[in-house]
Subunit: 151 residues, 2 copies
DNA sequence: TATTGTTATACTCTATAACTATA
DNA sequence: TATAGTTATAGAGTATAACAATA
């Protein structure tokens, strides 16, 4: 019964294509700042939840501990994030550096511009509708997975 | 003015997270069949446009020629796609094999199931709305980029 | 000159598995 | 046992640059 199933009728495909659109635009916008879209998310999380550890970051972004680790390594190398002593002798408390805080401002400015370009074909109401539907879809799927931290 | 800019207010971020949701589900659903979501798109394109060459495939999926090439290599290895003599001595005409046609049916069945699971939190009307908004967003961005082939 | 296929190389993002130290 | 960090390895997906053959 899938004889005539079109590519354009697959929601996952449309999502991937739109994702590619965002990647293309945001990467270009952020490239001069030496940062990638996924790492911005980490920076924003740390800004909003200073002192949390790497595992918490990994859970919030739904990437593993080891993926979070890799990001933090890069962000620390670039002096955007600091690992400070955590509540344990196991965990690190993550904080933005002063430089990280200032840079994040610039990054978000550029990111917002890129987002506006990508979304320029939709009205403000449509944009909000789209955001709402995406969030609803995520919320429905992440049953019982703590949404608190998951931005 | 971005002081309070939240992660959840970034459209690109929401799109990425939903994309991850789809990847997780569709990969799991397709893994027993030894195929990945992106390659399904290639198979569907070839099914719907038999005889087109690799460059056309690359344009349609908005990946380059070399990325299309890699996919076709894999798909040909698995006997899902054939490279036949093209209109030129340069180009290959792509076709599904008999096995590829049969397999694609099964793949699309599983893909559809996975998509339904991911989208289970939205009503039918909401799903259609979401599809419409995503397509509109793409259409607006791909100004003058041939939408004909771009599924 | 432009286009097709090809190869080599690299990058982003995420994943799994296993290990260490701490709890 | 469970958790935090770490390391090594791998994979999907895409990109760029260059080249040969053909147009």
């Amino acid at each position: 019964m899938n004889e005539g199933l079109e590519l354009s009728s697959l929601l996952g495909y449309q999502v991937r294509r739109v994702h590619m659109l965002f990647l293309e635009q945001t990467r270009a916008a952020l490239e001069p700042l030496g940062i990638s879209p996924a790492k911005i998310a980490a920076l924003v999380y740390i800004r909003d939840h200073p002192g949390r550890d790497q595992s918490a970051l990994g859970r919030a972004l739904s990437i593993g501990r080891s993926s979070a680790m890799k990001m933090i390594n890069t962000l620390e190398e670039r002096n955007l994030v600091e690992r400070q002593p955590g509540r344990d002798f196991r965990s690190n408390a993550l904080h933005l550096t002063g430089h990280g805080k200032r840079q994040l401002q610039t990054m978000l400015d550029r990111l917002r511009d890129a987002e506006r370009r990508v979304g320029s074909g939709l009205s403000k109401a449509e944009m909000e509708q789209l955001m709402g539907l995406l969030k609803k879809l995520r919320r429905a799927r992440s049953t019982s997975v703590a949404m608190e931290a998951s931005a």
